[in-house]
Amino acid sequence: MRYLALFKAQLKMRYIYLKRYYFDTLSMIITMFLVFLIIFYGATALLGGATPTDSGDTLEGIVVGFMVWTFALVAYANLSWGMIEEAQQGTLEQLYMSPLGFGWVNIFRVAASFIVNALMVIVVLLLMMATTGKWLNLDVPSLIPLILLTVAGAYGIGFFMGGLALVFKRVQSALQVLQFVLVIFIAAPLGWLPFMKFLPLSLGTRLIGMVMIEERSLLQLPPGDVLFLIGNSAFYFGLGFLIFKLFENVARDRGLLGHY
């Protein structure tokens, strides 16, 4: 019950932010959408509309990749930039004092932000599909676990950078650079460079593409790939979280939690 109370509190806060700052929400959706249009039509002009890739068609691949990037970006930003914001606001120390533990506070924060942001991503996705006319397969029961698994990698990176921010404070430029590194992970040409599936986000994006573009269900995906994705995501999420705990300990030892 206590954990449920904590989760509800986090979920409610995210929801209030989304609603109260609807202008922010709206402008974020529009920005995302505009960036997508530029990329999409840029690619169309460049490629003439047809080049075979791993995910079938490039243009459809762009829709899928962009969707994953949106998910990954908000996941990553929520932890890294979010941690900085909490430190500046002076609420980080309050979060830290939760009797349920800072770890759970953050895990529920991640879960809450995932749910709330999913609403936003769905809007962007519908907009993308409507404008491009590429209506992709929305097999929700297959997509939810795949997206969760894929984005877990981004949360791992978010935890890592959040931990870094706790100790080193001035990490903003690194944070910005990494946002674009995420693109490389997502756009990794696995057919050409298969070892890239060891990176976070790469294989997940490809599997999501298989569901959305090739209209396969989760059960029709190569089991080896799905297992690899589970291992990969657990690894990056676990590693990020572990390093975060490590940095948190350093921050607590040096008395840095409240400073920003």
Binding site: M1, R2, Y3, A5, L6, K8, A9, Q10, K12, M13, I16, Y17, R20, Y21, Q89, G90, T91, E93, Q94, L95, Y96, M97, S98, P99, L100, G101, V105, N249, R252, D253, R254, G255, L257, G258
Partner: protein
């Protein structure tokens, strides 16, 4: 009396750069009884905030023990956090984009409590802190004083046995500071919370604390009841009233004997305030004054205030 907060030999070294370590807190020990309000005083850098943050689990001590209501905080941090809430220095501690009620509800959830069960208490706090009219305004649009009151309410809503308040009136204007003091006094009088409060504002401390712990250079130098300290200093604090000005040479001689002696004048009157340890020192002062032109109008005990007591102790006059 039941002890709910006990600090034993708390030490914190901060390592700076290569090897060099600064001792922020040096074997500090004290205890606070149930429903007691204790002031933690000390000059800047004395180790007050570090001590408070160690108790709150925000800084890892180098050595020592912290017991919160029977729980060893360093070994069982989660259990300990059920027993303590803190209002930390600065105008923060709250979510700027949430309204007062939303903030309170969030902190209830953060504590692992269900909002439905404490709704009555939330209403009570909103009433007590005069936040009712502003209950729909995001915290960032509230006045500085309101924000601080809300931050205090957010610490209270966690319903912990122990409450740590680090400089709760810092940066507030006189009126809001007074208002907050009033609320704290009310709370202290109700005797429902155990409070450890650090402050530079001696009015706050004198108003609400029963006991003070004074730290200097990371160590406890005084741990006594406020009334005892007042009595102790009342005996030694004298005020001499003179008709006419004090000669320059006399003033020098006096200050040589009593470095903390203060001379002030209004109109024709001159006042000398001094801490005299015993009767013989009184005669020494009189001896010096005898040589001057000014006439002694009266000699009396001065009512000391906590600020002067604090300064005297910290300047090492007593210890």
């Amino acid at each position: 009396m039941e002890t709910v907060l006990q600090v034993k030999d708390l030490t914190k070294l901060f390592r700076q750069g290569r090897g060099e370590a600064v001792t922020a807190v040096d074997r500090v020990s004290f205890s606070v009884h149930k429903n007691e309000v204790v002031g933690l005083l000390g000059p800047n850098g004395a180790g007050k905030t570090t001590t408070i943050k160690c108790i709150a689990g925000l800084i890892k001590p180098t050595s020592g023990e912290i017991w919160l209501d029977g729980v060893e905080a360093l070994r069982h941090p989660k259990k300990a956090m059920e027993r303590v809430a803190a209002l930390l220095e600065g105008n923060r501690n709250i979510y700027w984009r949430l309204t007062p009620r939303e903030n309170l509800e969030f902190f209830v959830g953060l504590q692992g409590h269900t909002v439905g069960k404490v709704r009555g208490y939330i209403d009570e706090l909103i009433e007590l802190f005069d936040l009712k009219e502003k209950h729909r305004t995001p915290a960032r649009k509230l006045s500085r004083g309101m924000q601080q009151k809300l931050a205090l309410a957010c610490a209270l809503v966690r319903q912990t046995e122990v409450l740590l308040l680090d400089e709760p009136t810092l940066g507030l204007d006189v009126e809001t500071s007074y208002e907050l003091r009033h609320v704290l006094k009310q709370m202290a009088a109700q005797g429902e919370r155990t409070i450890l409060l650090s402050s530079h504002d001696m009015h706050v401390v004198q108003d609400i604390c029963e006991r003070v712990i004074i730290v200097n250079n990371g160590r406890v130098v005084v741990d006594d009841r406020v009334t005892n300290l007042m009595k102790l200093f009342q005996v030694s604090a004298y005020r001499f009233e003179l008709e006419g000005p004090l000669g320059e040479e006399q003033e020098l001689r006096l200050k040589e004997l009593f470095p903390l002696l203060e001379v002030s004048a209004t109109g024709h009157r001159t006042y000398i305030d001094a801490d005299l340890k015993d009767g013989t020192q009184l005669y020494e002062v009189l001896e010096i004054l005898k040589d001057g032109s000014a006439q002694i109008k009266s000699i009396g005990h001065k009512e000391p205030n906590l600020e002067e007591i604090f300064l005297t102790i910290v300047k090492g006059q007593l210890k």
